[in-house]
Amino acid sequence: MDDRRRRFEAQALPHLDAAYNLARWLSRSPVDADDIVQDAMLRAFRAFDGFRGGDAKAWLLTIVRNCWASAGAAARRRGHTPLDDENLVAEEATPEASAIQAGTKKRLDVLIAALPEEFREVLILREMEDMSYREIADITGAPIGTVMSRLARARAMLRETAKALL
């Protein structure tokens, strides 16, 4: 097997679950998450010679986030919105009402999925993927001060809607 592939499998592939988790939470669709991650991994592999050490996870998540953003832009140009994940997003009810209907395990998922995307992404990156403020700023392309205030806002919103669960 060639050397680049070996290094890629050793350094980048262990973060595939993180890449998929981010894509899934951003797109809220299993089908879109698959496409985004496949696209991102291919781009990452082709660009891997340019990756000089550092944190492969943050590097990979940046590519995933870019792929998601450009997939979203392409979808908007075609005039359709991505399918929402039926498991995560309720159709008509308010987030709070549908959370109560959903199974215990899924309640919190529904509330996270209902957060606006700029708040959802910082929350996922910080709380699930354990990224630092600096890394989140690099991944999302937002200034670090914005990351901090969005994270505070995301937590406040979630605390409010999840009151009954906490």
Binding site: M1, D17, D34, V37, Q38, D109, A152, L158
Partner: protein, 242 residues
């Protein structure tokens, strides 16, 4: 929230401050009831978020990625035609063709297990918990790898349990029970089965390998011991129960 330091307190809680800034934030936190309440709320939310779903890449996606990487890494077609018609290419072509015939994920799995075994041998880090007592090794693996395979000492059959370690197989956490047989070491890997096809086993880069599924775990035995002993161990391992 009326305290102006809340954002700074959040930075402190998120580990984004160090040195003097962290000390100042800690002092503020000790004297500000509002930030203390905020810290408690933030911790509660973090705890609750551990119950939210962290999605795992499906195996269908892993398989598609492996195929995609195969296409990216495969030499251009002209090379193959040239090589095939050139004669006298047995070693190189046979080696590569063998590789291409295997399902990519199974090939990756076989490589990964042998990589992990040889990296442990050359790095001298084969054992993280040294014990011949399966009552010590099993809970250690459960706590550190999150996987709890049956662990049995087969000393009476000549395979002495020497300890365990955590490792990775194709990017997934694996529990490894380590056995000694004369001068040879054997690693018994276990990882969560996700329905991926397993390699057929056999020799991989000079190591004997064997793969099987049992319950909700996939297993791989890897060693350079002789064929007879290796088969005997695999039979014992397959027969062990919780």
């Amino acid at each position: 929230m009326t305290c102006k330091e809340t954002l700074n307190t959040q930075s402190y809680l998120d580990g984004a401050l160090d040195g003097v800034a962290a000390e100042a934030a800690e002092r503020h936190l000790q004297s500000c009831a509002e930030c203390q309440a905020f810290a408690a709320d933030t911790a509660d939310l973090s705890d609750a978020l551990r119950g939210a779903t962290r999605f795992h890449a499906p195996d269908t996606l892993r398989l598609r990625l492996a195929k995609q990487l195969d296409r990216e890494t495969r030499p251009a077609k002209g090379f193959w035609l040239g090589a095939a018609s050139g004669g006298g290419v047995s070693a190189l072509a046979a080696g590569l063709a063998f590789f291409l015939l295997l399902p990519p994920s199974a090939a990756t799995l076989a490589q990964s297990v042998v990589d992990a075994h040889s990296a442990a041998l050359t790095g001298g880090k084969t054992i993280m918990v040294a014990s011949s007592n399966h009552h010590t090794v099993k809970p250690w693996l459960a706590a550190h790898a999150g996987i709890s395979p049956p662990v049995t000492d087969f000393a009476s059959a000549g395979f002495i349990l020497t300890g365990g370690r955590t490792d990775q197989v194709a990017g997934r956490p694996a529990a490894v029970a380590v056995y000694a047989h004369g001068n040879h070491q054997l690693d018994l890997f276990a990882w969560a089965d996700r329905g991926a096809p397993l390699p057929a086993g056999g020799m991989v880069r000079g190591f004997r390998t064997s793969f099987w599924k049992m319950g909700d775990l996939d297993y791989a035995a890897v060693s350079d011991m002789d064929a007879g002993s290796f088969r005997k161990f695999v039979d014992l391992a397959k027969a062990q129960r919780e």
